[in-house]
Amino acid sequence: MTDSSAKAGVAERVAGATPAPLARRIRGLSDKAIAWLFIAPTILLLLAINIFPLLWTIYLSFTNYKANRKAEIRWEGTEHYTDILSDPEIWHSMQVTAHFVFWTVAIETVIGFALAYLIDRRWRGHGFWTTVILIPMMLSPAVVGNFWKFLYQPQIGLFNYGVSFFTGIDPSSFQMIGDVSLAPWSIVIVDVWMWTPYVMLICLAGLRSIPDYIYEAAEVDRASTWRRFWSITLPMALPFIMLAVLFRGIENFKMFDLINLLTSGGPGSTTEVASITLKREAFESWKTGYSSALAIILFVAVFGLANIYVKALNRVKQR
């Protein structure tokens, strides 16, 4: 036997050991078919847990369906939608939501950017303080909700004590959670406390992306600190700030956990944001069809606002 024929023998044996039918089947498929084969499981999963529930919710929003009662499903058309849009209570909860979103995002952006600006000075120990500042963000909303409830206690709460320490007001003379005029601010304070670090982190990324030599050039060009801030720092960090605003805005529009734990929408309905109303209608009143319609309205509102905003963001980035 020559050397080459021995090699051919090995090759034949290897080919024989390969399961031919499988090989042929895969070889028979087009690239497109193989690609579909790979993404099909993900698509099926997405259809099952995202797309189907969405479509089903849209369907239910036109019916009188109640999830806790076995009854014939009756088509009611756009009745829920007209009900919701003419319901003053819904508009009230929209107002509460807008108040919450506006003030949390505004305060978080201002404080978050200011903190990022300070941290970016890179003073001694700034790394340690960055970590300390980030702690609230890492906590579970359930934990935060519960311990702020304690902090807000008029008799034993640290918050009331702190306010009285600095202003001299009697600590038990006011209740953050129980008072109609203070409750909306109590949830704003907690959200700001918890999520300002997040805004700071994004702003810090923006500030760090500005190269030092631009500042040096400005310094040589005799730009004052003020002018450097307005003509370099702010415009170059703006896309990042806008991104933080977008994230916090969407997040707080659907804020549920913190508020549910702190005030559950009370007192009365002063802190009843849209998501709390939704939960009430869906799982306390069991008006499934009605709450489906409300969910769709909220979804469209967030989606529309976010889209307009993203367009604006892209314009700023392209400048």
Partner: protein, 349 residues
């Protein structure tokens, strides 16, 4: 414009001395180029004059005022950075106008328009003035960056390898342009580069820097023909100077103490020779278009010289090499004058 004097300036980063007891006087209206390899301390020297770094020792005066510890804004300098340091959200026009709009200067808006227009004309970017900085090409961005320095009339222009990020064509255009602008304005310029062509063509004087020290300061001609040391000699010349032991090639008598011979193309005589008188062999010839680099082996030394484009030398040819007025260096690398004829002027480094 004003005279800038550095005396005994030292700058350390942690324990490393980037600049060490450096003395330098830039005369009013002079174009000085600092030449040296990466990490020699050229840029640090420039940043010290600009106030972006503060010296650990020594003093810096601009126009007679001690500015050693003054902030950049108080020094009246203009700086061109190696990177395009434009304000990205501003138009080319606003970038050029930026330094003039400093509240400290109070330049009226129509004066700004006139100055920016002139500079844009000079740098041929008039058509691009309304473009945002990010919409400009690399060459345009760097021209705007240079223009931003030129709109002002500072005591001194500091330029840190402003042409290094441009392509060869634009680099040679801007090189001529800068030299012309400098002469037109009578500007004082301190310019940093590691490009010998830029140094030779633009400088009134060249300062060669090694490890933070000024090794030699002189006119391009002095630096080229009378380098203070082997280090300086290797900075200039294309192809680079050949360093050979004394006695390897016939040279008509080395001075006492001479250990190394430095031979550039113009110091080498090459001729085809019969085997008996030949002392070298042609390895190969590099054709660069306008010139031919001839690689030659002498004993166990290799050297590179230019060959006449019409020369009929070919690979493997035996040649005879001899030296004409080469440079001599002693054992420590310092140049020593050739014996007898003192044809070469002394450097004032």
């Amino acid at each position: 414009m004003a005279e800038v004097v550095l005396s005994g300036v030292t700058k350390r980063f942690k324990t490393v001395a980037a600049v060490e007891s450096l003395d330098l006087t830039v005369h009013d209206g002079e174009f000085i180029v600092l030449l040296g390899p990466t990490g020699a301390g050229k840029t640090t020297t420039l940043r010290l004059v600009g106030g972006l770094e503060r010296p650990d020792e020594g003093s810096i005066t601009i126009g007679g005022h001690d500015v050693t510890h003054a902030a950049p804004a108080a020094r009246d300098v203009a700086f061109v950075f190696q990177q395009y340091s434009l304000y990205p959200h501003l138009s080319a026009y606003d970038n050029l106008a930026f330094p003039l709009r400093s509240p400290a200067r109070r330049v009226p808006e129509d004066e700004i328009r006139k100055r920016v227009g002139e500079i844009a004309e000079m740098l041929r970017i008039s058509a691009k003035l309304q473009n945002r900085a990010t919409q400009l090409s690399g060459g345009e961005m760097q021209r705007v960056a240079i223009g931003r320095a030129l709109v002002r009339r500072p005591s001194i222009y500091l330029m840190d390898e402003p042409l290094s990020s441009l392509d060869a064509k634009l680099r040679s255009d801007l090189r001529l342009e800068l030299k012309r602008i400098q002469q037109d304005l009578g500007a004082t310029i301190l310019y940093v580069t590691h490009d010998q062509t830029e140094a030779m063509t633009m400088a009134v004087r060249i300062g060669v820097i090694e490890s933070g020290r000024m090794i030699q300061l002189g006119t391009p001609r002095e630096i080229y023909t009378a380098p203070a040391s082997v280090y300086v000699a290797t900075r200039l010349g294309q192809p680079a100077i050949n360093l050979l032991p004394v006695g390897l090639l016939p040279d008509g008598g080395a001075p006492t103490g001479g250990k190394t011979v430095g031979a550039r193309t113009e110091n080498l005589r090459i001729a085809k020779a019969a085997n008996g008188s030949a002392n070298a062999t042609v390895d190969w010839i590099e054709h660069l278009g306008d010139q031919n680099h001839l690689h030659v082996t002498v004993g166990d030394h290799k050297l590179v010289t230019l060959a006449d484009p019409e020369s009929d030398l070919a690979k493997g040819d035996r040649v005879s090499l001899s030296l004409v007025d080469p440079l001599y260096f002693d054992a420590s690398g310092k140049r020593i004058a050739a014996s007898g004829k003192a044809r070469i002027p002394q450097g004032n480094g």
